[in-house]
């Protein structure tokens, strides 16, 4: 069975500081990994997918198979980045995503 671990419940940084939200996974196959974000009073939505190798809102995430990690990074945090972030894994042949417990990012002015 697969598992996603987000070790930090809360991450608080100051505006302009770098941000790294940690995500580790456990899965024997080749995973697809995602970051979802939920801003205050908004729906949970997709932020980015590892296979797209994209940068969204300044965020990037690199899949490290050796360390089984998919950390989310941004060089300079903005106040509007404050939200709940969930890392998710899609196992081969399975449609449902397995989510981590989430990390609340708080960017202070």
């Amino acid at each position: 069975a697969q598992r996603v671990t987000q070790p930090e419940k809360l991450l608080s940084v100051f505006k302009g500081a770098p941000v790294e939200l940690k995500c580790n996974y456990s899965y024997s196959g080749s995973p697809e990994l995602f970051w979802y974000v939920q801003y205050s009073r908004q729906r949970l939505q997709l932020l980015l997918r590892h296979i797209s190798r994209e940068s969204i809102k300044g965020f990037t995430a690199d899949l490290n198979k050796g360390e089984t990690s998919f950390h989310l990074k941004k060089p300079f945090a903005q106040e509007e980045d404050s939200a709940m972030y969930y890392c998710a894994l899609k196992a081969t042949g399975r449609r449902a995503l397995t989510f981590g417990s989430g990390t609340r990012l708080q960017v202070q002015p």
């Binding site: 987000q6 419940k9 697809e32 995602f34 979802y36 729906r43 949970l44 939505q45 997709l46 997918r49 969930y86 998710a88 899609k90 399975r94 449609r95 449902a96 995503l97 397995t98 989510f99 981590g100 417990s101 989430g102």
Partner: protein
Amino acid sequence: GAGVSQSPSNKVTEKGKDVELRCDPISGHTALYWYRQSLGQGLEFLIYFQGNSAPDKSGLPSDRFSAERTGGSVSTLTIQRTQQEDSAVYLCASSLVSSPLSGELFFGEGSRLTVL
């Protein structure tokens, strides 16, 4: 167009009562998912429907939980004999199975259930 619609948005019930939560997915989305979001627990998968295939019920926590999807569209999640530990936000999501953006789920705003 409208996104995933869930009702009720809030439900307060007494322990032991049955509740029904409704989800109306995005038109044309053949896949539908139910998740439970509890404080500090993240999102817990409950059940997945795909077209006319048998649903993946592997996440249902007990036989008090059941769900159906009628006509390949609207879904109802039923919790019988509710317990206080059932209190959570129940999220519904839908997706296009054939979408090249596999893994992109579109979520509703959720139904917050409080069991007294």
